[in-house]
Amino acid sequence: MSANITAKAAAGVLTLLFATLGSGPIASAAAQSTPGSDTAVVAMYEEPTSLNPILGPQMDFATMVDLTMFPNLFGVQPDGKLTPDLAAVVPTVQNGGISKDGLTYTFHLRPHVEWSDGQPFTAQDVLKTYELLVDPHVNALTTAGFNQVSKADVLDPQTIRFTLKRPYAPFLTTCWSAVQMGIIPAHVFDKVASTDVNKAPFNYAPSAALGPYMFESWKHGAAITVVANPHYYGKQPKLKKIVFQIMPDQNTILSSIQAGSVNLYTFVPIQQVSTLSSNPAVKLHFYEQSAWEWGQLNFKDPVLQDKRVREALEYGIDRQAIVDHVWQGKATPTADSQIPMYWSFDAAIKPYPYDPKKAGALLDAAGWKMGPGGVRVKDGKQLVLTYSTTAGNPWREETEQIIQQQLGQVGVKIDIHNYPANIFFGNILFHGQFQIAEYEATGGPDPDLRIYRADSCNAIPPHGSNYGSWCDKRIDPLLQQEEAATDRSERKAIFNKISAIEHEEMPSLFYYSPKGILATSHLEGFSPNGYVQPTWDVTDWFIGK
């Protein structure tokens, strides 16, 4: 007879709970997308900090959302070619849009384009976008290229001319293509003091858009929703709404796309590929992207200053083994910082082959003799190198272990010290507190920017991201020549010379360029683009079977 009441109460609570849980299947399937639905759900594992396309920091997911609302003057095709978007034509020297000396760029804008609030789109919008980007009070997404402008003149409502301080060939792609940012409305920002731009309501609730979609809502921490923009100049998108749902855990996204409640999953980690490929409702997309993984070498370190040691490291690493084991073959070994998808790529420069014997001979020649425990020694000092990367990345950790094991065989001991991403980039790399630092470099549609930032003697921190402090006097004159050349084939020849120097001097250990991986479920009309975010062709998307 003991405790009958409590027993009953507990049983009651339990029954109630299981009843709630059990009622699930009856009301299920609501979360699943149905064919012909007018809404697509895109999963994002990081939340954009703002939706103003000209504000930093640059985040892939912010660009992904912005691209649906804020086009730029030029779109970028999957082959890297520019196409007119808000501009009516792509300027060239031939059509008179670019002056022969490469100093003036005249943009003719597409006529009869309206913002989603009905205001006309004019050259003033382009001018305002430029002015705010170079304003010191604005947390600009980028000033690269814009800082080369000496003068901007609005010639008429449909024409704007930029005069540069010096010829700068990447001007179109780096500043005015869909890669990073879009045009913002002058009629909104004329009323905002430049000191208040960082706090403008437009940043979290954009009141005007030019793209196929316009802003509907941002439920912070949950989702950003955009709806079709009836004022869009181009063809109307097939989907009425796109919901960018924020799901910080990638395992949750994995379950959600399997459950059918997510239509697009971007930046899929390689270790989830086998699970996803076993699900018939999920389609995987692999594509070339402008990113490559490398191990930056620190030239402030006396051991690594010896070219023979760097060469030995190159020969001591089996790139193909990493690509096969870690990337399941979904990556391409690289020889320098030009990757195969770039127009500036030189196929004649091949990655260093795996040759441990040669690596050993080079180390012998450099005075590093095999010592006790299989570790080479010189002047009583062991050849131990610290290897760092971002912590918590399963594929980077696997890569490190392979490299550690391979270099161990040639007598180089690798000590692994990983750091959380913000510490790795903010402290370790920036302050040069590493010997070998592995990370991914991403380029734009134009190879110039990344090369300058990584290779120029003028880009050693704090002036740039040449974290290894490598300085080869041949690089900067070549970069200047390349920027002054307006012809692509001329530029390619110069880039190839830079590649040859990189390959010969080894400022970094070049590993591979990983393929981009995306997963879609019921999303049709979608095609990836290695240069821009996957929302670039959003008007063609629809929900299929």
Partner: protein, 317 residues
């Protein structure tokens, strides 16, 4: 009692003040910082970083930044988020309802079940029921939340399709209470699992101690019904140590909510705190830390007040 509470509240003011100093300086000395997100981007120029440092006020010494912050904070202005520039209190305010919903339901669930399981276990000590509850409790305490979370998402969401996998509402659908509650079920259970396991152990232990006492035998001898004996005489006395654990758990739920909110994509404050830490968004980090500290202080005062309510022998004069 009234004076006691007022005195405690007044004493908390210097405490909160001290906490703000510690939090502010800690936040500003975390490695990484707000500029780290800009550094691995090819298109970021050095002059941009220079401008940004000035815009965010980071060019001034930290103590100057602190004094400026404090001057505004006492007037209720916690500054603006480094991200989209919204006022910090608006940023936090957006996320409080989601956290309160998850924490509130989860707390209520864990307390209700903990009492039911704890009392029954104590009354039927060494029975099969007791053993099962004991085993489950240890399992609940030792299971990491993120693992349990992924497990139930895979099972009930991806495999069985009974419940939604993530978020607090179906994407692209108008808000409905039923839809919201369906989204709540899995994170609520997962978040409750740990506290439930722990609390039921405390209730059991506390009850065991009490039911052996003489006054329980007296109560039974008076001919009171078993329900009255257990609920009125035993439980009330057993509650005192349990209250301490419960109020501490309320604070724990805030941190446990961080993981649960991440796994279930629940748009609450724990995740906001984590994201802000990662981005070096100092104003939001400091804002949340200060608010949570105040909450913990208030909960502690509440616990002390509850002791006096439960046990007439405890008096604050």
């Amino acid at each position: 009692m009234g004076t006691y509470v007022i005195r405690r509240l007044l004493l908390s003011i210097p405490l909160v003040f001290g906490i703000t100093i510690v939090i502010f300086f800690l936040a500003h000395h975390l490695p990484g910082g707000p500029l780290a997100m800009y550094l691995n981007t090819a298109s970021v120029t050095p002059e941009q970083l220079q401008h940004l440092t000035v815009q965010l006020g980071l060019d001034k010494p930290v103590y100057v930044q602190y004094v400026e912050w404090l001057g505004k904070a006492v007037r209720g202005d916690f500054g603006n988020s480094f991200g989209d520039g919204r006022p910090v209190l608006a940023v936090i305010g957006d996320r409080i309802p989601a956290t309160l919903e998850l924490m509130g339901f989860s707390f209520a669930l864990s307390v209700a079940l903990a009492f039911a399981f704890g009392i029954l276990s104590a009354l039927r000590r060494d029975s099969l029921f007791d053993y099962v509850v004991t085993v489950l409790s240890y399992a609940g305490m030792s299971m990491p939340i993120f693992w349990l979370g992924i497990l139930v998402i895979m099972l009930f969401g991806a495999q069985l399709h009974w419940l939604p996998t993530a978020g607090m509402a179906t994407a692209g659908q108008p808000f409905s209470i039923v839809d919201n509650l369906r989204h709540l079920i899995l994170p609520m259970f997962v978040l409750a699992a740990f506290t439930l396991a722990q609390e039921s152990r405390y209730v059991r232990a506390s009850m065991l101690e009490v039911i052996g006492q003489d006054y329980i035998r007296t109560a039974r001898a008076k001919g009171l019904s078993e329900g009255e004996v257990v609920l009125k005489h035993a439980l009330r006395n057993a509650l005192i140590p349990v209250v301490t654990v419960l109020t501490l758990d309320a604070a724990y739920l805030l941190s446990g909510a961080l993981v649960t909110e991440t796994v279930f994509a629940w748009p609450g404050m724990g995740r906001l705190f984590y994201d802000s830490l990662r981005e070096g968004n100092y104003p939001v980090v400091v804002g949340i830390a200060v608010l949570v500290s105040i909450l913990v202080i208030l909960l502690n005062i509440l616990a002390d007040v509850l002791y006096a309510v439960l046990d007439p022998r405890i008096k604050y004069n």
